[in-house]
Assembly symmetry: C2
Homo-oligomer: 345 residues x 2
DNA sequence: GTGAAAGCGCTAACAA
DNA sequence: TTGTTAGCGCTTTCAC
């Protein structure tokens, strides 16, 4: 702990010298790979413990070209659905002795690109990404550097873009079908910004194509794109409610906005689901703790995070191809959406 | 992109050869530290760009002993107050070209210790930790390896444990004072598990000492420790309400549990704040989107995250001592807490 | 302003 | 089973 003097951690050389073996042997003991004489092993382990030797992953990684680092990039942590996802990824990585580099892109492709470059510089062995929407340049960057990546939150359906996800269109379809089956025709949409969020885009596409299927035309005044904030959902709802013919149902492509919408209805004295049905997406824990309880689409965020991490790690360990998995989603029927009332037609 | 054949990224040697300079010069160009002939610089930069050269931080870190890695350890991401904190830390680190290693300890000191050891192996330059409650061994581990660390979410008041935080006791006191001033005396507490969470412990201590200050004795039946889940808060409230003399006010040491409690009141037909006042802690975005809106203590989670990251980075860059900052908290008065009604006495 | 060369702390042939 | 010896890709004196 001498200060002033440059501090030097114990290295394998120090351990080797004191245990009267070569660094190669110390390395073998530490990695437990090759057989080592039990006597020798014990001697080395003792010295390691005595000095609280900590392995240097930088040096190790440089020599083996394996950093035991995985990069995880998500658009935000504020929407807690991504937090659940990230936590599960981290836990899965951790359990396999991988360490997670965290990057939050804030929905910016520029920012994401910067993070990816930085992560590659740190020699991540793989990358877990959100969505598939990024410049070709970014994909080239990963391929050029031979960094395997897996896409989450969006099912790509492409061999060259392995993904662990659910199907946003199908999931959104589950919500829309529920509304149609209960007689709703004037249905509003509140969703994320489709120009920076391909998950929102797919959900919106499902909304639009379901309308078309039912012979309905798209009413732009019934569609609101906004940020992942309760307040944004509230304002969107406010606009919808102030129309001469307000929608009888709203599909909110995430629960945050759905709860904002719900709140606005309460504030405006509009009863849910009697006067307007609201259906969400994500099934956040909070969604059973609002009044009325939110009918919503459950997405397997934690499972997706875990599977994505496990998939890349298996790929790294065994060379097995990266998975392309489509996870199921389920509509969770609670109280915020119901049948169309005749008087509301 | 030859496959089968071991893939080799371009190295500075490759760049150097092609630009007809030494690797030293490439290094100088890349770091822009020492002056380099503009001609030479241009030539090098051109080759760098041509091959999309990516710097190897592992090798660089090994040579300089500076990894540009910062470790961030939090107990959970599920409680979105920590997510906001983590996101702000990450952003601040990112803006200074640092990369964040994420660790989620799940309130386990063992798990945290493992993460810290792993992070030290990756040669993090500093650590941002949550709370101060960990075995001496863990602190020794950090000091032995000369890894500076800063504590958040808890103000240590100790020179040797720099912290960027608010004061949990004062903050909890703000909530309790509000209740006392409005006549409440039978006050319940719902909080996190104090044996694994020193923030919850300090808040509980504030609760207890405020009672004492007012000549009140602690009623164990009025105190519930539970997990950070809405449902846990709900159940705790249920128990309180079923008492022969239910509390007239509840202090919930986090908003998650407060919202659970609020929901239980609604379910039980107990009016808030008329029959029971509820006051939360954290001021999550959701707290204005519940009914009634939650009176709560605002904590500067994002600012704390940013300041903690900035502090360690400044320390690393300039040698300036780590900050010990106490951030203010504010009681946000909304609708869930009010004056004691005589009939409820 | 630039290059040569010796490391940083580890691993992995290859020999012994 | 163990040691020797080159590196891994970068930085950094020290000369020139």
């Amino acid at each position: 702990m001498t200060k002033g003097v440059a501090f030097r951690r114990k290295t394998m050389r120090d351990i080797a010298r004191e245990a009267r073996v070569s660094t190669a042997t110390v390395s073998r003991v530490l990695n437990g790979s090759v057989p080592v004489n039990p006597e020798t092993r014990k001697r080395v382990e003792q010295v390691v413990r005595k000095h609280h030797f900590v392995f240097d992953s930088l040096a190790g990684g440089l020599a083996t070209r394996r950093s035991r680092l995985i990069g995880l990039i998500i658009p935000t942590l504020i929407n807690s659905i991504y937090a659940a996802f990230a936590q599960a990824s981290q836990a899965a990585a951790q359990s396999q002795r991988y360490t997670v580099l965290l990057g939050v892109s804030e929905f910016s492709p520029k920012q994401e690109e910067r993070l990816i470059e930085q992560f590659i510089a740190h020699r991540v062995e793989a990358l877990i990404l959100t969505g598939a929407d990024r410049p070709a340049r970014t994909y080239q960057q990963m391929r050029r550097n031979q960094v395997p990546f897996i896409i989450t939150w969006k099912s790509t359906g492409r061999e060259d873009l392995p993904s662990v996800s659910f199907d946003n269109r199908l999931a959104a379809g589950q919500a829309m079908r529920f509304l149609f089956e209960r007689g709703h025709r004037r249905i509003g949409l509140i969703c994320g910004r489709t120009e920076v969020n391909d998950r929102a885009r797919e959900r919106r596409e499902a909304y639009e194509s379901m309308l078309k299927e039912h012979g309905l035309s798209l009413n732009p005044g019934l569609v609101h794109e906004c940020d992942f904030e309760f307040e944004a959902g509230r304002r969107a709802m406010q606009k919808m409610l102030s129309r001469r013919a307000p929608p009888t149902a709203i599909f909110c492509a995430n629960d945050i906005q759905a709860i904002g919408a719900l709140t606005q209805c309460r504030a405006a004295g509009v009863r849910v689901p009697e006067e307007v049905s609201i259906i969400g997406f994500d099934d956040l824990p909070i969604s059973t703790f609002v009044e009325p309880q939110l009918t919503t689409v459950n997405v397997p965020a934690a499972e997706m995070g875990r599977l994505a991490a496990e998939s890349v790690i298996r790929h790294l360990a065994t060379g097995a191809p990266l998975d392309s998995i489509i996870l199921p989603t389920t509509l969770v029927i609670r109280s915020s959406a119901g049948a169309l009332r005749s008087e509301a037609k």
